[in-house]
Symmetry: C2
Subunit: 325 residues, 2 copies
């Protein structure tokens, strides 16, 4: 790879001059400017961003920590985030934590060593204390860390309420919420609060089932749902806290020959692409993933520019009624 020095020599000028035409700074005669440009083309010169970043104290790198990009929600989130980042001149370092505490910590350290300008954190197994060590702009998804760290989320309580009310309105008498592990300190837990409150308020029998920390094993979902039905054969409504879980529920109902939506109604969450793709199409609570991604990037960039940011950023959810209710 040619360096600025090679360009300078070949063009018969000094590196200063080359740097000037590169960055459009100061006065340069048209003649030398053209000569330098020509040599840059000839050599296919690309400025070394490592050296630039080192000098400037800014890398234009952003770390993205998620459980895994193979989960539809995080895959879609990552795609949007990368897109917005790219349009703002930032690059994404991808980190799949698998929801393992050690990995999250290790990744954070790695990102700091690589001088990222900020971190988007959407995996939350580490303790709140760990965040104080990160002296970097952070934006969090779905978790409130402390007063200062801005977080992006959607209205989880409202989502839980919409889902639960819909099931009851449709005539369900005994409902269950299958959600992530409640020991993780996530705003998503508000879905279950809403579920419980709504069911109690309306006098409907209800159950909550938590998945294990490790999110992505669909086999696990299937086992849990199978157990749920064997314990509660009259269950007629399921609020699944992701479209993936909802799809698993559909599968089990099919196995148990329970008609959807006649015998069992199901509401999913997220409205990822699969929700409207599977058969029957999943009634779900839509999170505005694209808006959330955009907002996260904006909040991060504002912090990098030392502008003020609002800490709480909760976007509205909407009910997407389809075929499972």
């Amino acid at each position: 790879m040619p360096t600025i020095k090679d360009v300078a020599e070949k063009a018969g000028v000094t590196v200063t001059t080359v740097s000037r035409v590169l960055n459009n700074r100061g006065y340069i005669s048209e003649a030398t400017r053209n000569k330098v440009y020509r040599v840059m083309k000839e050599l296919d010169y690309q400025p070394n961003e490592l050296a630039r970043s080192l000098f400037r104290g800014k890398s234009n790198l952003i770390g993205l920590i998620i459980p895994t990009v193979s989960h539809p929600f995080f895959g879609e989130l990552s795609a949007y985030i990368e897109g917005y980042a790219h349009s703002k001149g930032y690059k994404i370092l991808l980190c799949n934590s698998q929801l393992e505490r050690e990995k999250e910590i290790e990744y954070i350290d790695m990102l700091k060593r690589h001088q990222v300008d900020g971190i988007i954190m959407a995996s939350h197994t580490i303790e709140v204390d760990e965040y104080s060590k990160v002296n970097l702009p952070i934006v969090t998804f779905d978790r409130r860390i402390k007063e200062k760290i801005p977080y992006v989320s959607s209205d989880n309580y409202q989502g839980g309420k919409l889902a639960t009310n819909l099931l009851i309105d449709k005539g369900c008498k005994q409902i269950a919420h299958i959600c992530g592990n409640l020991s993780l300190d996530l705003l998503a837990n508000k879905r279950n609060e809403a579920f419980v409150a709504t069911a109690q308020e309306r006098g409907i029998k209800f159950h909550t089932v938590q998945t294990e920390i490790n999110v992505f094993e669909t086999k696990q979902y299937e086992r849990l749902i199978l157990e749920l039905f064997s314990e509660h054969p009259n269950l007629d409504g399921i609020f699944a806290s992701s479209d993936l879980i909802a799809a698993s529920a559909i599968k089990i109902c099919y196995q148990l020959k329970k008609e959807i939506p006649d015998e069992v109604r199901i509401v999913g969450y997220d409205d990822t692409n699969i929700a409207s793709l599977v058969t029957p199409q999943i009634t779900t609570i839509r999170q505005p993933i694209e808006m959330m991604s955009k907002l996260a990037m904006e909040l991060l960039i504002k912090q990098m520019n030392e502008e003020k940011v609002t800490v709480e950023n909760i976007l509205p959810v909407t009910l997407q009624e389809r075929e499972t209710t």
Copy 2:
């Protein structure tokens, strides 16, 4: 962020000494070693990888260019690749090309500027010539560029053959292949070659439908499949070149009240997570995504170490029979 200089001063030694304990080079007394370690902890010192990379001429960064991480196949691929990269000390710069030519080129330049040690290329809209400009280790997914660039793929011809034969064996009389755009120079096109050859050989009526370049629009799939059935109402077998397309086919059959697998049989491709998640579960051709990811990383690392690599790396596919046939 504290630098090596800060550590040196606080520990009462020079930067050389700190660098030595950091990299375990040369002789150091236990006393100073411990002192330096202690100061590093106190200051929460993290070595600046930008500076290290600049000095070493090696960034430990790898660029990953895919159409979009929100597509299940590429999401799973990315997750595996990032995992293997991480275990080998490499970090992934994520690039979603959206299958746009300009973006691919732009991303390649960006990656070069950032001094990545190699590129994994799984998005293929650019011309073969463009690759000669990339003087970097590359591994390609599913495309043969020229003699020298190693590529990872699975046995597409065999996959097409397995799928087509299965449909015919099960009794289909008129079949269609819905595949990606054949104008892209991909090894995946061999699936269609196999489809055509097998159908002709066995004397079965067949059709090929290509999607538009822009891969991910499931609405597009649905429209195409709807058109397909309206033109060929007696169609009773579909070979879908991804599980996503297969899911769309299921959806349309459901709309048209065609029973699966009695009236229409469907075979998907990839065996991504959704294949066994949806209802009915998709019979599909399994690509060994995990092995392919691992192999790609290994091939890349070998190139970086200037070891010899085999150019053609084709892994076997397997038929996963499920409920759509």
